[in-house]
Assembly symmetry: C2
Homo-oligomer: 425 residues x 2
Amino acid sequence: MNSTATESPRRSRVALLGFGTVGQSVARILCSGELPHVQLTHIFNRQVARKRVDWVPASVTWTESAEEVLASDVDIVIELLGGLRPTHEWVKGALLAGKSVVTANKQLMAHFGTELLDLARSRGLEVRFEASVAGGIPVLRALQEGLAGDRLVEVRGILNGTCAYILSRMQSETIAFGDALAEAQKAGYAEADPSEDLDGADAAAKLAIISAVGLRRPIRVTDIATRSIRPIEPVDFLYARELGCTIRQIARASVEDSGAVFAAVRPALVPLSSGFGRVEGSQNLVTVRGVFGGETSFFGSGAGGSPTAVAVVSDVLSVAARGDGKPSNAAATKFYTVSGDFVAPHYVRFTVSDKPGILSQITTSYAKYGINIEGVLQLPKFRKDRLPFVTTLEECPESVLDRALAEVAQSDYHVQPPLALPMFS
Amino acid sequence: MNSTATESPRRSRVALLGFGTVGQSVARILCSGELPHVQLTHIFNRQVARKRVDWVPASVTWTESAEEVLASDVDIVIELLGGLRPTHEWVKGALLAGKSVVTANKQLMAHFGTELLDLARSRGLEVRFEASVAGGIPVLRALQEGLAGDRLVEVRGILNGTCAYILSRMQSETIAFGDALAEAQKAGYAEADPSEDLDGADAAAKLAIISAVGLRRPIRVTDIATRSIRPIEPVDFLYARELGCTIRQIARASVEDSGAVFAAVRPALVPLSSGFGRVEGSQNLVTVRGVFGGETSFFGSGAGGSPTAVAVVSDVLSVAARGDGKPSNAAATKFYTVSGDFVAPHYVRFTVSDKPGILSQITTSYAKYGINIEGVLQLPKFRKDRLPFVTTLEECPESVLDRALAEVAQSDYHVQPPLALPMFS
C-alpha cells in the first residue's frame, strides 16, 4: 500500500522560475535524491549569478532568460515568481510550448485561472496550484478529489498569516494595532506595504481559488467584499473575551439553496474554544461543509518556504505521475455573481463621548431597521469622553446593519466610527 | 478552475456489494443525478428482497449472487460488506475479472492490502480505500498525493469513534467505564461485542493502512501493540485534569532517524486544549509530521453513513476519471518490523490500601530502572483502603517502565494493578 508517484516512462524534466525562499526549498527536495521520477534541469532568476549554490547538481542550467526555459525540453515549469506581469505571459508561453505548469501564485490563479486551465486542457496539459492556498496544507486536492463525492456548500478559512499573527499578538499582549503591525514587520511576518494582507486582497484571492475548486463556483476576486483589520483595537479583544470570543480575519464563501453565492473577507468574532480561535502565527485553517459529509477541517502551516515547497513538489509529482494520461482539470466555466451580504449575528462597538440618551438613540435606529438586540456590554473604568461599549445583535443582513449604522453615525457623540464585526459560532 | 471528475470515454458502470447504512448513502449520491460520469448498475445484498427501495432506478439489477456481479460488465465494484470471508475472495475475484475496487473495509486492507494492490497493479486496475480510515476525511489521499513531496515521519490519530464517545462521556459526566459503555451501546456507538474497538484492533487496522500510505512503511496489523481503554476509571480523568489533560485512545506510528518503525494503539493523556483533547463522539483527528512541511491536521466525521459514503463516491469518481490511464498505486513492498516501545513521559496511577512506605518502595523501584519522577499527585478525600494516587514520569521507554511496574506490582498493598498511560504534549 505504500505509494507515491507511479512509474513514469522517463524522468520528468523540471524547470524552476524563481529561486527565492520557496524556490530554494523546492530545489532542496528535488535534489534530495528521494524523487527518482523527476529531475531539476533549469533554474531561472534575475541576476542569477548571485543565486548560484553548490548543492545543486552541475547538470542544472542556470539562466536569466525565461525564453531559454520555454524553448528547452523541460516537461514541467514551476512558477514561483509571483505577480501578474510578466508572469502571466510566461505561464501562457510555457503552456503554448507544451509544458505543464505548477504555480504557487494566488493572484495569477485568482485572476487568470480559468483562462490558463482552459488553455492547458485544450493542449492535454495541466496547471496545478495547491501551493497558492494554505501553504503546505493539501486542501485544494482534498476538496477537488477527496471530497468529490460530496456537494460542498460552505467554506470558512483563516488564510492570511500576517493577519493571524497581528491579531493573535493583540489578543495575548493587549497591544495596539500599530504596535502589533510594527512587530510583525520586524519579525518578517508583514511586508513594508502590508495593505494586501491587512485589507483582505490576499485572502480574497485564495478564497476565489477555493470557491472555484471546492464550491465549483468561479468568482472574480474583485467581486469579493473585503474589510480591513486596521480598525480593530485592543478594547475589541476585551469585549470579545467577555463573549467567549477572539477576533480573526475570516474568509468565507457559501452557496445557498437558492443558488446564490456569497463571499467575503473580514475580521470576525470567533469562539476562543473553536479551531478558528486557536489559530496563531502562520497557521492556516480551512473548514468546509458538505451536504453529505458535514464539516471537515484542514489545519497546518500556511506559509514558509518548506511547507509551501511540499505543496509545489507534490503537484510536480502528480503531473509527472500522470504522464501521458488525461489532465485532471475539467473545463472552466463562467464566473458567478457573488454577494458579500451574509446574514449573521453581529458585534458592534461604539466609541462615544458619553451623555444621556445615546443608547436610546441607537436602539431606536436598530428598531427602525428591524434589527434585534441580543445584549449590551459596557466594561467599567473607561474615560467618559472616549467610552467604548458594545451591542451584540441577532442575525441580520450586513447591508441592513450598514444602513442602520450609517444613520447612527450621523450623531455628534461619536469619537470614532462604529465598528461592526460578524460573529461566528 | 471548477473541476471534479474529468471526461470519461463512457459512463463507468458501478456495482454495490452491501446495502446497509453506508451502501444506501452511496446509492443516494450515485442516483442523485449530480454525477454524470458514473452509473449504478447492480446492488448485491443477502435477502435482497427486503432491501429494495423505490428511489433506485428500475435499470439497476438487484441480486443475491456475487458471482452475477463479477460476471457482469461493471467497471467498478464497491465493497461495503466488511469482514474477511468471503469478502477477500470476492474482491480478488473482481480484480481477476478486470474490475477496479473501492472498499471501506479496514480489516481487508490492513490484512490483505499489499496482495490486493499488487494484483490490481499487475492488471492495470485500482483498489481504493479512502473510506477505510477516518470516514469522510480524505486523509489517505492527502497523505499519498497532497503531501507526496514531503517525507512523513510521524502520524498520530484518534481513529475510533466508540472509544472517543466513551472517553468523552467519562470526562464530562464522571461516570464509570461500564456505564459509559452501556450508554454507547444503547446509542448505537458501540457493538454488542465492543472488543475490537475498546481493545485497539479497529484503530490498529486503520493505523496499519495509514502507516503504509503515509509513512510508506507497510506493517502487519498483528504486529501493532495495543492496550485496552477498559482499565480507565473516572479518577483518571480527575488526575488528568489536574495535569491539564484528558484521556483518549491514540493511534501512533513513527519512523525514527535510524529507520526503526514504531506503532502502537493505547489510551493516553492529551492536553485538554489540544486538538486531540477536544475530539468527541464520532469525530476523527489525524495529525502528521513531515520533515519539510511540519505538522498538518485533518479533522472531521470519522463514521456515519453519509460521510463514509462521500469517501467511497470520491474514490469511485477518481477511478472513473482515470479511465484508461495508469493506476495510481505503486508497488507494494515487504512488511517492516515494528516496535510499540515508544519513549514517552508517563502517567502511572496506583490504587493502594494505604500504609507507610509505599511511595518510598515505588520510587526506589523507579530509581533502580533509571526512571525519573516528574511529580506525585494525590487528591484528598479518597478512602484509605482504596487510595488512588499518581506519579508522573519523565521520558522513558515503555518497556523499561513495564519492567519497573512488574516489580512494584509484587507488593501486597495494591488493590488493583498500576495503570500506565503515555502523556502527549
